[in-house]
């Protein structure tokens, strides 16, 4: 946003896949290695998430399964290229992807909260209305024939009532 960005530290998110040849424990040591390379580049890991073994959507170097791991870190911008390169060369990591992640400011978080509250309120209101409608429908004599639901959408309520009455009276006759 601002043209003069003072901070040279960026917040990144990285997802990487380890090949299927590893066992679960070996994969975890690989994760430690990767985290060490980030730490060596003066990066700070803020969060990590291990997804475990997952089926890949397509084969990568004859692997149809892989261990996924996700981590977030703060890093100096000019140190990123080195880490990216070292991961690309490493055979322990099948594939990785580093993404710039924007951390939200407090203002944005407050704004989000407001909107979320509004959405919740709106949903509650809609539910209320739906319930009221259901009640109304329950109050009116039931036993709507099976063919009715399709027509219901198109015809107005008045027409429906008339039709219903007609059908009910017909049933009474039988």
């Amino acid at each position: 946003m601002s043209k003069t960005k003072k901070s040279t530290i960026g917040h990144y998110e990285m997802l990487f896949i380890m090949p299927n040849k590893f066992t679960e424990d070996e994969a975890k040591t690989v994760i430690e290695k990767v985290e060490k390379t980030i730490a060596d580049g003066s990066g700070q890991i803020t969060s990590r998430e291990y997804w475990g073994k997952k089926k890949l959507a397509y084969e990568i170097k004859h692997n149809s399964y892989g261990y996924y791991s996700l981590c977030e870190f703060d890093l100096e911008k000019n140190a990123l290229a080195a880490i990216d390169q070292s991961l690309r060369l490493s055979t322990d990591v099948l594939r990785h992807q580093i993404i710039i992640k924007k951390s939200k400011t407090e203002e944005e978080l407050a704004h989000d909260k407001k909107i979320n509250e509004k959405i919740v309120a709106k949903k509650a209101e809609e539910e209320k209305e739906a319930k009221l409608k259901e009640k109304k429908q329950a109050d009116t004599p039931e036993a709507t024939p099976k063919a009715a639901p399709k027509k219901e959408k198109r015809t107005d309520m008045k027409d429906l009532d008339e039709k219903l009455e007609g059908i009910l009276s017909a049933k009474d006759l039988i």
């Binding site: 997802l15 896949i17 890949l56 959507a57 397509y58 990568i60 892989g66 996924y68 996700l70 594939r95 992807q97 993404i99 989000d112 909107i115 979320n116 959405i119």
Partner: protein
Amino acid sequence: MNNKKTKECYFCVNNLEVDYKDTRTLKRFINFYMKILPGKRTGVCAWHQRKLATAIKRSRVMALLSATHK
């Protein structure tokens, strides 16, 4: 079968961010051939459609989604 009701953007209505890791949501916006559906059809607004397209491409790179249906 033309649905004339104006659709609302899924991400705007629910105040969600597009996340490339959330394949369950992304799958709503691709077709059988794994092609990205037009915003016109799904009702996603232009701003979110751009984010969505990048997110789907990112998850294809990480083999979370396939690029073809076979």
